[in-house]
């Protein structure tokens, strides 16, 4: 009854409990992610509200989007989901090297995306003079994409830490293997949010007449 819980069993479905059968941490991650919908939902609706209001000082974000550029960086982020899932797959096959490589690739793609965002922001501010304080639409744009970028950046840090741990120890333990899966979930989530942002904020948004 009070037998020892072996460390490798950690976070497993608790055999001595009634439960869902899903590991604690994974369940927690899914719950957290479901609440993130409310977070990004607020930011997106904030943008939708202001991006259509007429009468603000120029420019509106939708007037200065560089769609080809953003398409490319969206593509990069989308592909990072592929590398992420490949890393996870390698980990499940206990292919430590593969997992490490794909982790690194994911982090790299994420960084490229971030660099793209930094470039985009700089261009908007310097070339088009659209600052946070230009108009509410601009404020909303920066807040939304900025928070998304922050999520990506946190993801990159987590990926790199896993990569580092794996390098030092020559692989990931079960516990960290689960961490890899969790980071993966997080990463894909950030990607699906970008799928929405790319379509709704970039492709569909039009400045008011």
């Amino acid at each position: 009854m009070t037998e020892l819980i072996h460390e490798a069993d950690l976070d497993h479905a608790h055999p001595e409990h009634e439960g869902t059968g899903v590991e604690d941490r994974k369940l927690g991650m899914w719950l957290f992610l479901s609440s993130e919908f409310l977070f990004f939902g607020a930011l997106i609706s904030n943008y939708l509200l202001y991006s259509q209001r007429p009468g603000f000082p120029q420019p509106y974000p939708a007037e200065i989007y560089d769609i080809p550029f953003t398409s490319v960086s969206s593509f990069v982020l989308l592909m990072s989901s592929l590398t992420m899932v490949l890393a996870h797959n390698a980990q499940t096959r206990e292919d430590a090297n593969g997992a490490r490589t794909w982790l690194f690739a994911t982090a790299a793609l994420g960084s490229v995306f971030l660099a793209g965002q930094v470039f985009e922001f700089t261009e908007f501010i310097v070339e088009f003079d659209m600052k946070l304080s230009t108009n509410p639409a601009a404020s909303a744009f920066y807040l939304l994409t900025g928070f998304h970028g922050t999520h990506v950046a946190i993801g990159v840090i987590m990926l790199l830490s896993l990569w580092g741990i794996s390098r030092r120890r020559g692989g990931l333990s079960d516990r960290h293997g689960l961490n890899l899966e969790l980071v993966g979930l997080y990463w894909h989530f950030v990607d699906i949010i970008w799928i929405v942002i790319f379509t709704v904020v970039y492709l569909l948004s039009e400045p008011p007449l």
Partner: protein, 693 residues
Amino acid sequence: MTATAERPTTTIFRRPSSTKGLWSWITTVDHKRIGIMYGYAAFTFFIIGGMEALLLRIQLSQANGEFLTAGAYNALFTMHGTTMIFLFVMPASSALMNYLLPLLIGARDVAFPRLNALSWWIFFFGGIFLYSTFIFGTSAAPVGVDGIGGIDGNLAPGGGPGSFNFLADSPDGGWFGYQPNAGPLYSPGTAMDYWALGLQIIGLASLVSSVNFLVTVLNLRAKGMRLLRMPVFAWMTTITSFLLLFSLPIIAVALFMVTFDRQFGSLFFAAQAGGDVILWQHLFWLFGHPEVYILILPAMGIVSEILPTFSRKPLFGYSAVVFAGAAIAFLGFGVWAHHMFASGITPVAQAAFGLATMTIAIPTGIKIFNWLGTMWMGRIRLSTPMLFAIGFVAMFTIGGLSGVTHAVVPSDWQQTDTYYIVAHFHYVIFGGAVFGLFGGLYYWFPKLTGRLMNERLGKVHFWLMLLGFNLTFGPMHWLGLQGMVRRTWKYAPETNLEPWNVAVTIGAFIIAFSILIFMINWFTSRRRGEVSGLDPWDARTIEWMSPNPSPEYNFAVPPVVTSLDHFWHLKYDEDAEGRAVRKEDGDEIVATIDHEQLNPASPIHLPNPSYFPFFFALGLPLMFYGVIYHKQLWGKGLIIVGLIIALAAVIGWAIEPLEEPHGDHDEEQDAIPPSPPAAVLPPSEGETESSDD
């Protein structure tokens, strides 16, 4: 020690091992100790918030009162509301949920013990951060072109007649911080930044613990404890956690928007630049209304535990009570605009939100009537916890009914922003949540101390508080309908509102006196109260199968649950009529349980203490101080320092060895309680990724 890991672990840090003294509290991950810390902190904030209320009342006991300056008054009601809601009722509920949830479901701890410690420390530092505004914050009335207007040179902020100005430099935008009044233009100074960022921190703490509680409930129930066998308090904790999970991100965004407006020049709520100030209200109340159910549902859970125990009957309509709780939570997401009936939203929206609001009375009514059904034909013992539970039902109903009168939209146009509203929400919050919480404290005090609280003092506390409460908040209904608006520093003598305000003030002091009695009771009973034994109330639920005070491991033998009210059914049979009959060996059974639970037969594995939650939580307020002062170099520096501390703590957290061999605990076994066997392994561990967001 069997628990040594097979896999080499990085041992840069030893895990902390003190079991006594300050460090043991700082590093503890024991849900019970965390609950205790939550409890004391919450109660301290209750006293502070209460004192703020008393100052408000002194000012209002006279027409055109001159006790406080306008600035001090505004700061006090803002801090009173904010404190009571975010720093008292929420953490007090959290205290009981922390302490009891694992016990109620037969677990050793919550799912993520370190994360649990993290929530607590984040909350704690958030509270301190918020209150540090009294020292560092500044607040000033806006100053116009050429420095004309605004505050008079020779007056401190706030100004005007009144002698006490000492708190005026604090947040003064009201607990719902309506824009643009609480924005950069009309509340310059840093005080509202402290408010916004303080709430941000505190919200994060609740978000983390909501995930933790949910996973605990979903994954760590004792064998046989199906969801519909969980005690109602565990259910209400679950539902509350869902509410937190889905409503906190909303306020987080809203607070970020305010912070960006105030600090970085964004224009979300800047009406002069096309920002929409009503957006803030939508976002705030979209959080704020679920929030009020976050305040009340735990108390409803507590009451649902107490009433059956002291009526010696099962809860009437258990599943209806549970589902009603879920229905309240669900509907609670769809009624927020009833706080905005006067804001000029379209008639369609007003009607729709009015109707939606009314529907909440239905599930709430189900609860009330089922509680009455529980008492009906029971064998009612009026012990102190029961008095508070009954007080809850009686007082909450009054508040709920005035709530329904607000849902009648045109009536609300008269009532909104008057003391009638103030009466409503104090009846539901104080008469509801606070009565419930006090009931819970009396009821579960033995779990904490192994002793009972003094009944006589308890009853004096109850009756005084009931009297004081009604004297304070009852006349407010009348005041509101006679036209006394909220948040008013002064009212004119011609309005003839003074006599009632005097009554209210007297009532407030009676409440304060009753609380004093409670405190005396608490601290004397802790040492000298009657020893409780395992089962002082002849209780029904399995938390009472853990010895009093609960040992660190909760249960040496986790119960295998076979029914709702499992513990009761171990002790009682039913006769042909359906009346309870104590089993012949009932006392023996209790004694055996007590003995078994106190003397674990085999090693027990518990989560190890950790330094990192504390340090991680310490990083946050530093960063946020930095945000407030980011224009200065040292502000920027502070952001970086905070980041580094937090990051270092996360890294430490991630690579912290999961266990550290302790001394042989077999020798310590006999010393239980109070000193539990050495902890070894967590039932599961915190996640490293929790630091994102």
